[in-house]
Symmetry: C2
Subunit: 269 residues, 2 copies
């Protein structure tokens, strides 16, 4: 469990979170708990106001220029916009500041942002393995981060000190830093997140309406992620299609073995 | 949430639970909270002692004769033994007492127990849609029952008053009674429970070891049921094979559609 007293590190003194949805809002809340001054940016002024009312941010704006004073900028927009917004943010950041993002698919984002990065700003792609089926600032909750993995995807060109600073920030917000190559991240996350989403959707559709009423904890937990925002998952599927299809082949191989056991009356599934 | 003050019904004054595992133990705990005297029976004397130490039962025995004073007998042994133990219990029950069970597959149990039922004892098959991946009396927890469905599977020959009494007992222990034909139950439970188990096992096997470390809440919840006791699931698969295969066909149809969408680059999964 997160304990700010165990994380007295001074970085970041000022953090900016761009995109105040469930994940961005959760990081904003947690960074404030850590003692950072948090600037929130969202294209929707009503969301900025809601984040202020929730106490998630110290100051807010709909103008990306607001990231200019931050030591650390976290881009938490929808996946579709992450690379562009991160590039736009980088050009407004002060020299020496650190940039990360929370996009669910890393290789294309890391390639695009690295290419757009101005001198003096360091970028390490990130993916917090946290969240639930809800969305928006109302669903933000710092506890969502507790103990979850935060994958960092530096490239060969990323300075080791930058990665170390990011690892310290991640530990400070109560998460577990894990460093992976961006392409390897996309392969593994297809297995633990994107494939499970497809299974959850297919299962939800395979369950007849009259069966749903008797469903117990197993049904509820295995169909939960299928209720998360479709647009987000459509973008993830588009962006990580090849890796998801590879994970699906492996799953179908395993399910096929179980099916044959069942057809042949084998007792152990 | 269960509130015994809202359930002042006097039935059962004496309940017997045969098989003091996670589910049997949870019913024993809850029935005691309701004010019933609870007799626990298990073939393993150490389990009976553990149930007494946990405060789950008022009296315990390894001898099935102990059910003779009960108004209500709940057979909660492993699926493999439910029908035989329920028949053995029925012959030891007093006239007018009520018998139910918690087996996960109902048609074969209902057929077998009904055929073995002595005059004067009423039987209604049951299936509480509750539990988790653990097992044994140490995992018993009355809260597992709260708000969950309890499917009752009477036959055409079951008196309406017997079903009504069972429905009242189920509501009293904090669960939702749902009445289904035994065959229909087996068809629906294949969709909401048995198929999800197979998917959870196949997914667990499809996830590479190095992917597991980055898994978030979705992976954890979708692989949880795969960690439940294999022997129990092997017996369920054996007993409800045809219905599970039908549910699997429906699932594969839905997953196939998602796969084709993905291959064709459709944005919405």
């Amino acid at each position: 469990v997160f304990d700010p007293a165990l994380s007295p590190d001074a970085f970041p003194r000022v953090a900016a979170v761009v995109g105040l949805g469930m994940i961005g809002g959760s990081f904003a809340l947690r960074l404030r708990e850590c003692g950072a001054r948090v600037i929130g940016v969202d294209i929707d002024g009503a969301v900025v106001s809601a984040a202020q009312e929730r106490g998630a941010i110290d100051a807010g704006s709909t103008d990306l220029d607001a990231v200019g004073t931050a030591d650390l900028v976290i881009v938490a927009t929808s996946l579709e916009h992450v690379a562009r917004v991160a590039g736009d943010a980088a050009r407004r950041m002060r020299r020496g500041a650190l940039l990360t993002d929370v996009g669910s698919v890393k290789a294309p984002i890391v390639t695009a942002v690295t290419a757009a990065l101005p001198a003096g700003v360091q970028f390490v792609g990130g993916h917090p393995m946290a969240g639930n089926e809800r969305q928006g600032i109302a669903a933000a909750d710092a506890a969502l981060l507790d103990g979850r993995a935060f994958v960092l995807t530096p490239t060969a060109a990323t300075p080791a000190a930058t990665v170390e600073t990011m690892e310290a920030v991640i530990a400070r917000v109560g998460m577990r830093p894990i460093v992976l190559d961006p392409v390897q991240h996309d392969e593994l996350v297809a297995q633990v997140s994107h494939l499970p989403y497809l299974l959850s959707v297919a299962l939800s559709r395979a369950i007849a309406d009259d069966a749903r009423a008797i469903g117990g904890p197993t049904m509820l937990e295995m169909t939960r992620v299928a209720r998360s925002p479709t647009a987000m998952w459509a973008e993830i599927c588009r962006t990580n299609r090849a890796a998801i299809l590879r994970a699906l082949v492996q799953f179908e191989h395993e399910l096929g073995r179980l099916r044959r056991n069942l057809e042949e009356g084998a007792l152990v599934p």
